[in-house]
């Protein structure tokens, strides 16, 4: 286990959005974070790569351990943390003025990767994101010419290019059509061979289809955390059961 939180509390302007969350993320597996809207799923995810502190009034207490080191500890550089923990957002966010190639290379440039190695890494990342065949003939075309699903896979490729150890995905398919969603789900399952993935989703079927572990958040608390199969068949908390059987949320 190389990513874990200990009594993690995150606030906006002093108001807690998640409280005392302690959770161990299994490496090379997909951990799903589910729960009704506003329960703190995104906030939790953004604590894992120190994005939360960029929000207005965002503060964090507790610890997030990456390979045993507290990423909120003294002397830890948030920029270095984000290079090891990549993130994919809900809406595709390609850089609109850059070509497809430059989008994927963007993270490499700020990481100081040598120019001559770049082409190879860009190709590998696009291939990992199952996008290479669709874009290999127009690498220098605009990223905006891609469909929404392709744009999201481009963003995944962009996040993979810097070779993070952990990949955080915040509802990565919620803006996509069913076919594109399926492709992203397949992609996640492939990627877990090499990456630790934490995915926020409000789609329970998706969580049960792709994830190995699931955490259920409710009103800022981690109510239950278990193997996905167990949680969906035999939840131990009444609130979890109510949620997955569709009685609220």
């Amino acid at each position: 286990m190389h990513l874990a939180t200990e009594r993690l509390t995150a606030r906006y302007h002093g108001r807690p959005a998640i409280t005392e969350v302690s959770l161990g993320i299994r490496p090379r597996a997909i951990t799903a974070v589910i729960g009704p809207s506003g329960c703190g799923k995104s906030t939790f995810l953004r604590c894992l790569n120190r994005m939360h502190e960029l929000s207005d009034g965002g503060t964090v207490e507790g610890r997030v351990l990456l390979d045993g080191t507290d990423i909120y500890g003294a002397g830890v550089d948030a920029v270095q943390v984000r290079r090891r923990v990549g993130m994919v957002f809900q809406r595709p966010t390609p850089f609109p003025t850059m070509s497809i190639y430059d989008n994927v290379a963007a993270g490499l440039r700020v990481n100081g990767v040598a120019r001559r190695r770049m082409g190879e890494i860009v190709e590998r990342s696009l291939a990992q994101a199952a996008l290479w065949d669709e874009v290999k003939d127009r690498l220098h075309g605009s990223a905006l010419a891609l469909s929404g699903g392709q744009q999201q896979r481009l963003c995944i490729a962009r996040a993979l290019a810097t070779e993070p150890e952990v990949l955080l995905m915040d509802e990565p398919a919620s803006a996509l059509d069913p076919l594109a969603t399926q492709r992203v789900e397949e992609l996640m399952v492939t990627l877990k061979q090499a990456y630790t993935i934490v995915v926020v989703t409000h789609n329970l079927q998706q969580a049960s289809r792709v994830s190995d572990y699931t955490g259920f958040f409710y009103l800022g608390d981690l109510v239950e955390f278990d193997q996905t199969a167990r949680m969906f068949t035999n939840p131990s908390d009444g609130r979890t059961e109510a949620y997955i059987t569709g009685r609220f949320g």
């Binding site: 290079r83 850089f95 609109p96 003025t97 700020v110 963003c155 810097t162």
Partner: protein, 331 residues
Amino acid sequence: MTIIAPNLGAAARGTAATRRMTRGANPADRAYQAVVTALALALPALLLALIVELTINAWPSIERFGWAFVFTATWDPVADVYGAGPLIFGTLASSVVALLLAVPMAFSVAIFLTEFAPRWLRRPLGFLVELLAAVPSVVYGLWGIFVLIPFLRTVVVPPLKAAFGWLPFFQGVFYGNSMLAGGIILAVMVVPYIAAVSREVLNAVPSSQREAALALGATRWEAVWMAVLPYGRAGLVGAVMLGLGRALGETMAVTMVIGNRHDISLSLLQPGYTMAAAIANEFSEATTSLYLSALFEVGLTLFVITVLVNAAARLLVWRTAPGRAVGTRAL
């Protein structure tokens, strides 16, 4: 019968409503519409009238000097010969100097205000920058004469000449009133405009773009450089063009410090002149009708150049970001 009657009634009501509906707008509405339309048309008409008036008045000079007016440097009221080359050169040169100084400063201010300043500081600081735009031009002129020029003479120019005196831009003796002083004054005056529009542009860049860059391990500054500025580039070009438009037409402050000499010199330390300044200064002295006509032609030229700059600005904005230029509404 009893079944049909209500239907007839409904039909009758229907036709009455239709008649009301198709009668057109009510009279007050129509009058209001007419007034607004007339006013809206009056503005372009005024513009057209202005062009016609300028051209008619400039015509004697246009006929007499032709293109030489634009390309020659003699401005001799005694011999009644006029060439506006130095004025055109001076206007463009002082504006270019102003932009070279103002753009980095204005962009820095805008970037600081939107990306780096603590939140509580953003509003008051932004307000102060915009306040600079409210200072009357003549006050800048006074500041130029009594503060800027002495400062340039004692502090800036000696080391500048020592280091770069071999460049054509820093030749000759510096007396104070100069292209350099004019350019700096203009720069100070256009910074608030460029900064204010740039700030709006950068504010309009979605935070998802910043976060996407930061999540890749970019520093704050790298995120600005790789995500924020490119996203807003069309608007930023617009902001610069807006500043250029201001600089081209500025009169009072410039004429107080630029030296007002009909000369073309590459050296920033030498005096120059601008079109706007010449018109303002020489209008009351224009004794011959050709002199007056030449000044009108200067005005026409300035007008044309300003229109071209604005057209170029719009073209650039469209070209760099067709359809979704951030912040270009402000233009």
